[in-house]
């Protein structure tokens, strides 16, 4: 009996209806958290953090570039793990999350590439340098686009989900390999600034706003993931009674 109790949350988590109703309640709060974090981080980082000794004010783009890159990379793992959960436990919701994660991750990767190029001009004197991390972010963008393209080629939803899940899993095995191989012909890029172990090599006055921005980007990711997934749920579950009820209810209210 105890086992049943423990697993009900997992199965409830797999119900699109439950997810739709819960996120409706969570979204306003989460958006508020996101706004607070992002506004605080941006104002703090852009206006109050001290300028860099070598790069002056141009370093401030770090407050967009680094969070976008981190969340883009983490987003790929999220997508692949959601795909794996879908393949193993056959949870519909998991596939919907996977599908929603792809365009968000691709957009964040694109932001990371663009801000990196803008930052590169004053720092290295060129918009584009074939350095290790830029190149692996570019490959990451192609991996995301591949998953999206594969997802859209199949008309059968179930097959499309599984194919995209397999591809993102293959990609997940490859992401560290790609990262390391590209690192191997490493050139200009400075080595990692934030390390999980040991003190960061940045001054706390510069580092704290970055942490706030990273958290802000994570909550932005969650908010957009919820919004995308809710749209996906409505699209896929449009034949179910609860969605029909929801729509008619909304129409009557208006």
């Amino acid at each position: 009996m105890k086992l049943n109790v423990q697993w009900t949350w997992f199965h409830r988590l797999g119900s699109p209806r439950w997810f739709y109703q819960k996120t409706q309640r969570w979204l306003p709060w989460l958006s508020l958290v996101m706004l607070t974090l992002m506004v605080t981080g941006l104002v703090w980082g852009l206006a109050f953090a001290p300028p860099d000794a070598k790069q002056g004010n141009s370093f401030r783009i770090i407050y967009l570039h680094v969070p976008a890159s981190i969340v883009a990379l983490a987003g790929y793992y999220f997508m692949a793990i959601a795909g794996a959960i879908g393949l193993i436990w056959r949870i519909k919701l998991s596939y919907m999350l996977m599908r929603s994660a792809a365009p968000i991750g691709a957009a964040l990767t694109f932001i990371a590439l663009v801000t990196g190029a803008i930052w590169g001009k004053p720092t290295w004197g060129a918009y584009w340098v074939w350095d290790a991390r830029i190149t692996s972010m570019l490959i990451l963008l192609f991996l995301y686009l591949g998953v999206m393209a594969l997802r859209n080629t199949y008309s059968n939803n179930e097959v499309a989900d599984k194919a995209a899940a397999i591809l993102s899993l293959v990609g997940m095995v490859n992401v560290p390999i790609i990262y390391k191989s590209v690192d191997w012909w490493q050139t200009l890029h400075q080595s990692a600034t934030i390390k999980l172990t040991g003190a960061p090599s940045m001054h706390p006055d510069m580092f704290m706003p970055l942490v706030v921005m990273i958290l802000g980007f994570y909550s932005f990711y969650a908010v957009s993931l919820f919004l995308f997934t809710r749209a996906e749920i409505l699209r896929r579950e449009c034949r179910t009674s609860w969605v029909k009820q929801l729509v008619t209810h909304n129409l009557v209210e208006k």
């Binding site: 393209a149 594969l150 097959v159 293959v170």
Partner: protein, 226 residues
């Protein structure tokens, strides 16, 4: 028991090789493509030996990647069209072995001839002769990885018969092979130790042999339904 495991491998290896030998145009097309694109390079860049020699390590590997990718498209599509893929999926054997047999046949028909032809390209691009053996070794190992990864893409894009989608799926996954493949040749040209990058290619091959068949078989099972 041994038949259960290895039977499918031999049968499909033999079958695919036989099919390639009977239809010789299939066998020759990627090789002609390989040589043709290589011949375009001096025309597009410059027929100067020095410049070409500098570009040679990377160019040879790019050509190998393109030739493999173009030929991998048909690995499963003919079988899907004539129904033999369905037979393969229905067979009681472990599906991994027939798949590995088919990929091995593809490598024997594409990767190996490319490797044997590569000294010609080396001569065209004035590659120093010390780099010829490392180049061939890197191509032997690397093209096998390319065949395995390509087969994953071919299986996943089967209902659409490959095309640009296949390139989009497979190219990013090819990057590490490309990096270490050309690094092997480049190290040999520079007089450095080229065993390191070559060992990385061998490691990629070991990982790919272990993991790619899982993804290929999963993709084929999907393709039948999709």
């Amino acid at each position: 028991m041994s038949n259960f495991i290895s039977g499918g491998f031999k049968a499909y290896l033999y079958r695919d090789l036989l099919l390639s030998v009977r239809d010789k145009t299939d066998l020759v097309k990627p090789l002609i493509f390989f040589l043709l694109i290589a011949a375009l390079v001096p025309l597009a860049i410059a027929p100067e030996a020095q410049r070409l020699a500098k570009l040679a390590p990377g160019l040879i590997w790019m050509l190998a990647v393109l030739a493999t990718m173009l030929s991998i498209e048909r690995l499963f599509s003919d079988d899907l069209n004539d129904g033999s893929l369905e037979q393969m999926l229905l067979s009681p054997n472990l599906l991994i072995m027939p798949v590995l047999g088919k990929v091995t046949a593809h490598w024997l028909v594409i990767g190996l001839p490319l490797t044997l032809l590569s000294p010609v390209i080396g001569i065209w691009f004035s590659l120093p002769s010390v780099a010829v053996i490392p180049m061939m070794l890197s191509l032997v190992l690397g093209t096998a990885v390319l065949s395995l990864i390509g087969a994953v893409g071919a299986a996943l894009t089967l209902p659409r018969q490959g095309g640009v989608l296949l390139a989009l799926l497979v190219m990013p996954l090819y990057m590490p092979v490309l990096i270490f493949g050309s690094a092997t040749i480049q190290s040999a040209v520079d007089g450095l130790n080229w065993i390191g990058p070559l060992a990385m290619l061998a490691a990629f091959l070991a990982i790919a042999i272990a993991l790619c068949p899982l993804a290929i078989t999963a993709g084929l099972r999907l393709a039948k339904n999709g």
